[in-house]
């Protein structure tokens, strides 16, 4: 077998692994249970809860990620390296540890004060949003920074020689040029928020009809051996995931400023 053949075979092995996992779901797939499971009040609540929470957390993180990413991509400032490093923390540290850190924070005096005088986070919808935000904020900043790094600084420099202030150069050049990268980063962040499990279950628990997001519902149903219902939920998540990959792939096609 040629070298080329072996390497391609390896890549199909990995492919096969994931494909078998998806296909094996269909062994337990029943059309009847699809509708039952899909339109049960509890499933619909999970879907709505997941979508709303992921949307809010993604919106918030992109809002702060765009200017942060620009600062990290364009300016040199004291502490830049520290900021850049800590952004990867949620990608490296276990989500369970992240959730635990949140829970521990709310057992601190400051956290307790916030809980008493502001918003209740532990075991609530806000806790879900916060868990997702903490997981996603670093990722979206990193992705948007990568998109902005792709845009040569010279565009802004030239815009400035043409009379644009730094803010105007950002609004008229950098922002429109990184638009597709920002959209792609938002979608990927949204998918990550939607699938967040470890941090969410740690801070918000797994209360049916209250904090049961889709991933938590999968875990709970499986624990109670409802395989057919679980399969339906997994298929929903997998379909959303694959559609998102497809969209992002289209968005990032042919983006080159070299």
């Amino acid at each position: 077998m040629t070298f080329k053949g072996i390497s391609i075979a390896c890549s199909f092995t990995t492919f096969g692994l994931y494909a078998v996992l998806i296909l094996s779901l269909f062994y337990f797939f029943r059309t009847e249970t699809l509708w039952d499971a899909l339109f049960s009040e509890r499933t619909l609540f999970s879907i709505r809860l997941s979508v709303v929470a992921a949307t809010i957390s993604t919106f918030l993180s992109v809002l702060i990620a765009v200017p942060s990413a620009f600062a990290l991509s364009r300016y040199d400032f004291a502490g830049k390296k520290a900021v850049d490093t800590i952004l990867e923390l949620p990608m490296i540290v276990s989500p369970a540890a992240l959730g635990a850190m949140l829970l521990i924070f709310f057992n601190n005096p400051l956290g307790l004060w916030i809980q008493d005088h502001g918003v209740q986070f532990v075991f609530t919808f806000y806790g879900i949003v916060l868990a997702q935000f903490v997981t996603v904020c670093g990722v979206s900043t990193r992705l948007i920074k990568a998109a902005m790094d792709e845009i040569p600084v010279r565009y802004e420099a030239v815009a400035r020689t043409l009379g644009a202030s730094p803010g105007k150069a950002f609004l008229t050049i950098t922002l429109p040029l990184s638009r597709r990268g920002i959209v792609a980063a938002s979608i990927l962040s949204w998918a990550k928020a939607l699938g967040e499990f470890g941090a969410t279950i740690t801070i918000a628990g797994s209360m049916a009809m209250k904090t049961e997001t889709l991933p938590i519902a999968i875990f709970m149903r499986l624990a109670s051996a409802e395989i057919e219902g679980t399969v339906v939920l997994i298929l929903i998540l997998v379909s959303i995931g694959l559609s998102i990959l497809y969209i992002v792939r289209i968005l990032s096609r042919g983006d080159s400023y070299a």
Partner: protein, 370 residues
Amino acid sequence: MLEVVDLSARAGGFVLGKVSLTVQPSSCHVILGPTGSGKTLLLESVIGLRKPQEGKVILEGNEITGLPIERRGLSYVPQDLALFPHMTVRENILYPVRMRGGTQDIENGIVRELVDSLGIRHLLDRSVRNLSGGERQRTALARAMASGCTYLVLDEPLSALHESLKKELWYLLKDLQRRYDLAVLMVTHDLEEAFFLGDTVSVVLEGRVRRQGTKEDVYEHPASVEVARFLGIRNLFHVEKEGGTGDSPLVYCQDLRTTLKLSPHAGKWNPTSTSSFAVGIRSENVAILMPGELTSETHNVIEGTIEDTYASGALVTLMATGRGSSTSVEAALPRSMARRFALAKGHRVLLHLPEESLFVIDPDSREDLS
């Protein structure tokens, strides 16, 4: 007038020494140097993209060294042009007008004139992604000039173009410069471009200005071995003072085994203190005399044998070695002349090194001649 005074800058480990230069109104100053010599660093310090370590930039009497980029009043065309890819040609050209709050109308005053004189009216609604090389250049020039600013800073703007297109743009640039009274500061590594476009030239080698002056001056009198080599001059010879008056000194050239007469304008040297130095001559200034042509002008003629000939384009280059000498002289002559004389390897020729074309190498740099 744009003045750069004692500017020094640093990028990574690279240091650009103290540079001073002046761009006169309606003239073009070219910074000429090889890749990595610090040309772009110099330009970026003038434009404001980099903070210089020392020195001043003065525009029409006002120091602009500390001003933010957008308030310097210099138009800039970078090497890759940096046309905004998400805008049409029209939007690109109107960008400086828009940023300065002017009327965003392509038919307005200078913009209209530029669009016509650069011949890009038919491109206005095209995306800049689909322009050819020459069209991109014209658009970039129009955009840089649309704000009405008459100081133009160009960073090798033609380096990506093919030769024949490049020449078209040389003519266009000359024309624009005259029509709009532009003062141009430009960087290039292209010798022909530098001596075509520049009124004054600074040669930058390894972060230092090694030669500065009018184009004729720099072209004819490189003054140091490095600059001469960089300008493609391979005829560099050791000489020793022999005699003659201050007006027409005589030197003996060991390399060529002959006595050479120099013109009084051959360069700065001090015949009393320096007895051994070097002279050079451009290959196209070396003339070939046919045996019958030998006139009363007996100085500076060497009898040699053609070692090799190389034809390339308009000129034929030949290497000839004098009797008893191991150093060869490079002569370039028009193709038609080479054909008429039927010059070929092995032929004997008389080489004439006219005294007005010989220049003296600054003795301080002589030791570099190998």
